[in-house]
Homo-oligomer: 354 residues x 2
């Protein structure tokens, strides 16, 4: 394609991170922000490229509230450029773009699914999008050229591209991103009613289930409220399931069906590397909670020539040992590793499949 010159409106985390990635690939990047200091910092980070040309591409990386005003003025300034956005929810941006004559064919909506728990240009990273999904969501009017440019940007940022229409995008993220966020927050909220002693009984399960509850309210209020129409049917379906449980959880068949339905849903989540879900063999090992133990353990894995796909560290209240569980792809490798570790004197337990 040969993207040469890009103008990025919005010098926050996402805008500046895209700027860093494109600049590293030799693209001239002009950073813009209503906040002069943010703009100056972002431009310094991204690098100056002399006199700004007319930009091939305008990237709209501003909050939803500022979106309409920005696209209006930018399209007036650059009527021959291509436009993309980075919004998490497409409903409102879609309306805003459609209301400006001639813009929609030049506009390709996109959603890079990456972020950090800190914001601003100072937190930007050129590799923020590496190996993360980047959804390309053209409308029926979006030109092939605009789609190609959007895809090129995502690929220059080393992201994995997915293509789907905007409405499907909003439905998809309602399910795989917004609903988990809501349930994590609701569960964590329920914990405020418990005694401190009860919370000392928390296992890894509860910790995993509430990690997302640490999310930023400022960031999520906009995402959830602007995608309410797609989230609502999911919540209503959840209400129906909850009503059944409230009425009949004392019936063990109802409890059984709930867990079985959950088993089925969980099996639908693909495993690592975008493949189908995989059955790992798990090898649990007790280690001392001090520097060097994990290093020594992973050295043994390397010596055994076994690749660790995933691992968890079990937090245990009151004691200074930890249970590390390694996920191994093949049961043969798990057997090799178990045998190897045992001969080296590690406190290793029987491996198990899940």
């Amino acid at each position: 394609m040969g993207l040469k010159s890009v103008r990025i409106i919005g010098s926050g985390l996402i805008g500046t991170s895209i700027g860093l990635a494109l600049s590293a690939k030799g693209v001239d990047v002009e950073m813009v922000d209503s906040d002069e200091e943010a703009q100056a910092l972002a431009q310094e980070l991204v690098g100056y490229s002399g006199e700004p040309d007319v930009a091939d591409l305008i990237i709209i990386a501003v909050p939803i509230g500022a979106f309409k005003k920005v696209i209006k003025s930018e399209f007036a300034l650059n009527p021959n450029s291509i436009f993309i956005d980075i919004s998490s929810v497409k409903t409102k941006p879609l309306v805003d773009v459609s209301e400006i004559d001639g813009l929609e064919e030049r506009f390709c909506f996109t959603h890079p699914m990456a972020g950090r728990e800190v914001g601003g240009a100072q937190s930007a990273r050129g590799d923020l999008f590496a190996s993360r999904p980047w959804i390309i969501t053209p409308t029926l009017l979006t030109s092939e050229h605009a789609i190609a440019i959007a895809t090129e940007v995502a690929e220059m940022c080393s992201a994995i591209t997915f293509h789907m229409p905007p409405a499907e995008h909003d439905k998809a993220v309602a399910l795989v991103s917004h609903l988990p966020q809501i349930l994590a927050s609701l569960l964590a909220k329920a914990l405020t009613s418990g005694e401190p002693t009860w919370l000392e009984l928390s296992g890894q399960g509860l910790r995993d289930m509430t990690r997302l509850a640490g999310s930023s309210a400022v960031l999520w209020e906009e995402i959830l409220s602007s995608n309410a129409s797609h989230i609502r049917p999911l919540l209503i379906s959840l209400q129906k399931d909850l009503t059944i449980l409230v009425e009949s959880l004392n019936d063990s068949r109802v409890a059984h069906a709930l867990i079985e339905d959950g088993n089925k849903g969980r099996e639908r989540i693909p495993g690592k590397h975008g493949g189908t879900a995989r059955d790992y063999t798990y090898v649990p090992i007790v280690i001392q909670d001090k520097p060097g133990q994990l290093a020594a353990l992973f050295n043994e894995c390397a010596v055994a020539g076994v690749n660790v796909e995933d691992l968890t560290i079990e937090h245990t209240p009151g004691q200074f040992t930890g249970l590390v569980t390694l996920a191994i792809l093949s049961s043969l490798d798990a057997y090799k590793l178990t045998t190897h570790l045992s001969t080296r004197g590690w406190s290793i337990h029987a491996s198990r499949n899940s």
Copy 2:
């Protein structure tokens, strides 16, 4: 105390694991099961101790359905022994015990909070309870002697003991164990309505939120149904929260309040080692997905003298690199580690607090 002789009714995972732990401490253990083969296997694993004496302690490790019959016959056989159970929910066992004259003062309810994804004597491990919570739940009638014996058993199994009344136990596990299980299953169930492509967008958050959904329906139908009375108020409270969201999620103030309430609840979960929740500093590092990379990384941590408290491996669809995030207790250590890794050529990102 000097526990000498124990009779364990129920040769499943929990019963046999307790048998292994006690036997290793020199206690004579007799394993009993209605299934002769299970009993023989469990006894062989635990070891024979010659002619069985009258047992100091009877451990009831049978499913709730068999509980009443077993305590009746065992109390008739051993009227001078102490009794403990291992049930996950106390409501029904409490009634069963109270209906047998003279038993309740000799009976101390307990709940070892440990398990595996596989069952049976063949999956038993003497260290199953090491560093895990073991709740001691005496009634007002339970004798000091019975409480002391129950505590001794938990300690011989290297568990961390907590003491609370049975009714409080059931309320506590409804909140910290049963509610997370139900929400994980409900969320996973919701995924069955999504397109396969949508699930390819799944991040670590969704994976964490649905891990518990892999639980066994046979095991959980009994737990959830028998604790329905304590779970119900939590579900009703959840219904109320959901109703507000269904009606007003498009109001960003409502979405904001939800996330903020979740933030507060999450802060109540204690961190590692039973202390108060800790703020870790997180150090994200990109590694190649091949044997030896984690070993090399943890070697560097050991060289830097930095202890890793926790870590996650980010699964990314389609690419063979991984993002490992290390949780470090002090920001100074995180700084030391970041500096050290950078000089060694690791692809390290700015650390962040959470």
